[in-house]
């Protein structure tokens, strides 16, 4: 019998119906099996705008269980408006515990940052991805970029880096710096800053990427080799924050926000709000280690 409950307002656990969740999980398994490969998926409409984190939500809602502890950040902050909105939605639809504390979370959804605090192997890190195709800047057609990935035909991408260096003396790519995953696929690490890119390499955690509008899922499994694209003599580097320190904690080795106060003075503040809070409370959160931070 077809149900005919007028104006029904009941939703399935985690909003998405079980058949679709299963489909997303199957696609995620494929993504994990082929690190860096973009898997097309159904990408059902969410009650959240396209381009506002629907892909991340699909992943979160497809894999979340009743015992999960959910954290979500937007541009590094737990309290950013869109993060609040999505957190409330996930909470309403699952009744799962939510947290700001990176160490406490089992699922962390993010827009454009990796936490400064090191991730563990029992955590899953979920990215909201606006543009999953790293080659889009050099090739506008989807059917061609898929072929380029299939044949590992990446010369155009490399030439664009070469050209950037020739023009401006550096590879002028900022957030979303392209990386090579497992020596095979070039991947767009969502626009996380270069500061975060080295933390994808050999990470303890599983990293899942959801691009809702473009309908693609991809993954970096734990302990996978992730190399930023660089030439033998023109190297990748992270954002240079030398000479600056967090005005509240005096800490130097973190990605900083640049703030302008009312009197026009410029100050720097640690971007990762939970990391900042922990430092301010004299706790000692364990930070990701990588060779770029070590050099500071």
């Amino acid at each position: 019998m077809v149900e005919n409950n007028k104006y029904t307002n009941k939703y399935n656990f985690a909003f998405i119906d079980e058949a679709t969740k299963k489909e997303i999980r199957r696609k995620l398994l494929k993504a994990v099996a082929i690190p860096g490969y973009q898997v097309p998926y159904s990408s059902p409409e969410m009650p959240i705008s396209r381009g506002w984190g629907t892909g991340g939500l699909h992943v979160t809602l497809a894999i979340i269980g009743k015992d999960d502890v959910f954290k979500i950040i937007d541009q590094g902050s737990d309290a950013s408006v869109n993060a609040c909105n999505l957190r409330e939605f996930v909470h309403q639809m699952t009744n799962c515990k939510t947290t700001y504390n990176t160490a406490e979370a089992t699922l962390i959804q993010t827009r454009h940052r990796i936490t400064e605090e090191e991730l563990r192997d029992d955590q899953i890190y979920i990215y909201q991805v606006p543009q999953p195709e790293p080659l889009r800047s050099v090739e506008r057609y989807e059917f061609k970029t898929r072929q380029m990935h299939g044949e590992a035909d990446y010369a155009k991408m490399w030439v664009s880096l070469y050209e950037s260096y020739v023009r401006d003396g550096d590879i002028m790519l900022g957030a979303g710096y392209p990386v090579m995953v497992n020596k095979r696929y070039i991947l767009a690490p969502s626009p996380i800053p270069k500061w975060d890119v080295p933390n994808l390499n050999h990470s303890n955690a599983l990293h899942l990427f959801g691009a809702g509008r473009e309908k693609r899922l991809y993954a970096i499994p734990p302990y996978t080799i992730v190399d930023p694209l660089e030439f033998e003599d023109v190297k990748f580097h992270t954002e240079n924050f030398s000479g600056t320190e967090c005005y509240r904690t005096g800490y130097k080795k973190a990605f900083m926000d640049e703030l302008y106060f009312d009197d026009g003075t410029k100050h720097f503040l640690i971007n990762d709000s939970n990391f900042l809070d922990k430092l301010a409370e004299d706790m000692e959160p364990k930070q990701h280690a990588n060779k770029y931070i070590d050099q500071l």
């Binding site: 030439v159 070469y162 033998e232 003599d233």
Partner: protein, 282 residues
């Protein structure tokens, strides 16, 4: 330049490309004797049929014919830009010529094109990416062959530009700002960047001014003498063929009507079409 039956570089056998749906009479009803390459029964078009030849290391082979004769099709098939209807091509640098390279996977074909061949098209836009600088275009070919050192890439690019007589200062300019002759020279630099064993030249001087044509031809001849590259040169212009090639195939309506040493064909053409071509040259 030793030539004996066993040391060929490229062995082409019965290369055929037909568009449309041919039937069993298609090949019999087309060709120079019908002065047509369109099958009257099926409307299928025989771009080229039963092309066979051996190419030897260091040799320059010319393919001459009017437009529509199938000469460019032969080159596009051999440069793996399109797929053949039937026939084979074995290429010594690729697995010692033991298999038909035309049937390789697209990934393998990419390898062959990137590492083992070079191509200069009639239109520089087909061979160059006009959004990249001329240095970037050469870099693309070098990167394709696994060079990821910017310093080395730039050194090699400037060598090539000097060789093709382009001011090194223009290395970081886009070819869209260059003259037609310069664009063609950049295309040549790119094509030979990896010292390919085989280079294709498809109507490379068509569309250039006569004085510029001569310079580009001189350049190609010098490069051939300096580097000893094996080449296949396609042209409708017998004077280009005379200047560059050792041996020539004359094509008409998708078939080879005559083949032999270039000098011999020029002095004593056998087929009436070749005779027509030669007489128009004089």
């Amino acid at each position: 330049m030793s030539r004996n039956a066993d040391n060929w570089l490229l062995k082409v056998t019965d290369l055929t490309k037909i568009y449309g749906e041919p039937n069993e009479n298609t090949l019999a009803l087309t060709g120079p004797e019908y002065n047509s390459n369109i099958c009257p029964e099926t409307d299928s078009i025989v771009a080229c049929a039963n092309i066979s030849f051996d190419l030897y290391p260091g040799e320059v082979l010319g393919i001459v014919g009017e437009s529509g004769s199938g000469k460019s099709t032969v080159v596009k098939l051999l440069y793996l830009d399109m797929e053949q209807t039937s026939g084979s091509a074995r290429f010594m640098p690729y697995i010692d010529g033991s298999i038909n390279m035309l049937d390789a996977s697209s990934q393998k074909k990419r390898y062959i094109k990137n590492y083992l061949m070079g191509m200069v098209y009639q239109n520089p836009r087909d061979g160059l990416n006009f959004n990249f600088t001329s240095g970037g275009n050469i870099a693309e070919k070098l990167i394709m062959a696994g060079n990821y050192h910017v310093g080395d890439i730039r050194a090699r690019a400037s060598d090539l530009l000097i060789k093709t007589e382009i001011p090194v200062l223009r290395m970081d300019d886009q070819p869209v700002t260059f003259s037609g002759g310069m664009q063609q020279r950049v295309q040549i630099s790119k094509a030979i960047a990896n010292d390919p064993p085989l280079l294709f030249l498809d109507e490379v001087t068509t569309g250039l001014d006569v004085s510029v044509q001569a310079k580009v031809l001189d350049l190609i001849r010098e490069l051939q003498q300096d580097l000893g590259i094996t080449m296949i040169v396609v042209s409708h212009d017998l004077s280009v063929i005379r200047m560059l090639t050792d041996r020539t195939l004359v094509m008409k309506n998708g078939r080879v009507v005559e083949g032999g040493l270039t000098d011999q064909i020029l002095q004593d053409p056998q087929h009436e079409y070749s005779q027509l071509l030669v007489s128009s040259l004089l």
